[in-house]
């Protein structure tokens, strides 16, 4: 799809790909994919300076999906954006396929393999520091899940980034309030999350992670403050866009049935 495409439509197509891929492969983590569909659409169609025809262009912006279990929708995004052919998406998780169930390098457009949580932000700090010291305009974006913020390595990096004035680094929290085994507030409460980041000297903005205009406007105002890293806390809904999957822990694991795929496509308004 071209960069000028309607973002709402883009997000729906990404969601539809994710549903088909997870269904076909009988994989999981569909709810996690759906909650960040709008953020990915905004990033890849409005924000990131990238060249799909030249993935290794050295002045490109870097995007790291740290919640590597959301691989299906990242691959869908990269394919829709032209990094590799769309038909390859149907090989997701198949024997011998390069599209593994967690984000893996070697797939065109993927900057970092992920899957074990808490790895993306430290690596993002390294990329941002290199760009800063070289005077490069390349920016680094890292997307983490809320459950992932339980990992101590993130807090090491959260302490680090302001110390080194990494205003070319943006962290996005896909805050859908459900982690692997229950609600965030029941497992390890993150609140007051914005205050935590403020106390760590980050510039903070909270957005509705499904309001495309708000997301795009926020990205357009980066860095939120000079000499500070930015964090966008995106309030999202797990399973967003497919009513029977929304805000439901089960869709962290379940693969939709044939019938559920039809229902999902109908809701998304995408022809199956």
């Amino acid at each position: 799809m071209t960069q000028q495409a309607d973002l709402g439509l883009v997000a729906k197509r990404l969601r539809a790909h994710a549903v088909r891929m997870v269904h076909h492969s009988k994989a999981s983590h569909l709810g996690s994919c759906l909650s960040m569909a709008d953020i990915l659409a905004a990033l890849y169609w409005r924000v990131l300076q990238i060249r799909p025809e030249e993935p290794e262009w050295n002045q490109r912006d870097r995007f790291i999906l740290s919640k590597g279990h959301g691989a299906a929708i990242l691959y869908a995004t990269l394919a829709e954006r032209g990094f590799f052919p769309l038909p390859e998406l149907s090989s997701y998780c198949e024997a011998g396929a390069r599209l593994t169930g967690h984000v893996t390098s070697g797939v065109p457009g993927v900057e970092l393999s992920s899957g074990s949580l808490g790895h993306g932000l430290p690596v993002g700090c390294g990329l941002a520091l290199a760009a800063k010291r070289e005077g490069s305009r390349s920016r680094t974006f890292v997307l983490v899940s809320d459950g992932e913020l339980d990992e101590g390595s993130n807090w090491e990096a959260i302490l680090f980034a302001p110390q080194h004035l990494l205003d070319n680094l943006t962290l996005i929290v896909d805050y859908n309030k459900i982690q692997s085994f229950g609600r965030v507030e029941e497992i390890l409460e993150l609140e007051p999350l914005a205050d935590k980041f403020k106390a760590f000297r980050w510039a903070v903005r909270e957005v509705d992670g499904h309001n495309l205009d708000e997301i795009v406007d926020t990205f357009a105002s980066l860095p939120l403050e000079r000499n500070r890293p930015s964090v966008i806390i995106a309030h999202t809904v797990k399973g967003k866009g497919i009513s029977f999957m929304e805000d439901n822990l089960a869709w962290h694991y379940k693969s939709p049935s044939d019938e559920q795929v039809l229902m999902a496509m109908k809701e998304l308004g995408v022809a199956e």
Binding site: N58, R62, S105, E111, L112, S113, S114, G115, S116, G118, H119, L121, P122, V123, G124, C125, G126, L127, A128, L129, A130, A131, R133, E134, G152, S153, E156, A157, L159, F160, Q163
Partner: protein, 304 residues
């Protein structure tokens, strides 16, 4: 060894602007030599080894050759998954440097004993593993690791180790260095045990034994040919390392087993149970049989 390392790294950094040094808030009175000359390529990441290693991976993704530096287990164990996933899986140019490997921090206690590092680093994909035996080897290894693309682990001693190589050495990653030839017994030493092995070989020679002595600074890739040759030509091998199971002895045994040739073999290494008492490096080594007399006794027993 750490002084040789930092001096050599400074020389290399003078010629290669991609070289960075990232430490985990350790290296007082050592790293200043680098940080004062190359402040733009130096980083103290704080007491945060996971982040340090992730940052190193990010810098390497941006085209840098990054040396991470801390002591004993800290740059290895605390951030093992960052080494595995971020560095090794992506085959990035990150060289993990540990100072005070083995029992160098003897009296500091078990937390500071780096005695499983060689085994753990050896099983990481794409990883080159080097434990130099003296400052000359440390210098050469630093140069070679900077030249070679990919992840590496460099286990150093501390400061003040004697120079053991009296002649110019041909240092090549993956190659043993023959210090002395002989035909009755081969001693193979890695890392800081080289000096003790040299002394033991002298004592054995004075007792009339013909001893071949190999320094084996590279454990991955190991010089299997030198081991096979020693097996065929001397039929008796003793490995010596300041490390537990999974290091030089284990690797040598695997090579010997694949040869299908029965020879006399003894790995001298640390016992599996942690050392729970204080002691200097030499005292603790001796308590584990890693001494001149321990090597001589094991040799004579095998040769009997």
């Amino acid at each position: 060894m750490r002084t040789a390392f930092i001096e050599q790294l400074c020389e290399l950094a003078e010629q290669d602007s991609r070289i960075w040094l990232v430490c985990g808030d350790l290296g007082y009175s050592v790293l200043e030599a680098f940080s004062s000359r190359f402040p733009e390529r130096y980083l103290n990441a704080g007491v945060a080894e996971q982040n340090m290693t992730g940052i190193a991976a990010g810098l390497a993704l941006a085209g840098k050759t990054v040396f991470t530096y801390s002591i004993a287990n800290f740059p290895v164990m605390r951030c093992l998954e960052q080494i595995r996933n971020d560095v090794c899986y992506h085959n990035l140019n990150v060289k993990v440097v540990s100072v005070g490997g083995g029992l160098a921090y003897g009296s500091h206690g078990y937390t500071h004993h780096g005695v499983e590092d060689l085994a753990v680093m050896s099983v990481m994909p794409n990883m080159t593993v080097v434990a130099p035996g003296d400052p000359i080897e440390a210098r050469a290894a630093t140069t070679e690791l900077a030249r070679n693309h990919g992840p590496a682990y460099l286990r150093l001693g501390k400061a003040g180790e004697p120079i053991l190589h009296q002649h110019k050495i041909e240092f090549e990653l993956g190659k043993a260095i023959q210090i002395q030839d002989g035909n009755q017994l081969t001693l193979i030493a890695t890392g800081g045990m080289l000096g003790t092995a040299i002394e033991a070989s002298r004592e054995l020679a004075s007792k009339g034994h013909s001893v071949r002595l190999l320094s084996m600074p590279t454990l991955v890739p190991i010089d299997a040919e030198a081991i096979r040759q020693a097996a065929v030509e001397t039929r008796t091998i003793i490995t010596i390392e300041e490390h537990g199971v999974g290091g030089l002895g284990t690797k040598t045994a695997e090579i010997l087993a694949q040869m299908g040739m029965a020879i006399r073999f003894r790995p001298l290494r640390l016992q599996p149970s942690p050392i729970k008492v204080a002691g200097s490096q030499v005292q603790l080594r001796e308590s584990q049989g890693l001494s001149v007399s321990g090597i001589v006794a094991a040799s004579e027993e095998l040769l009997r």
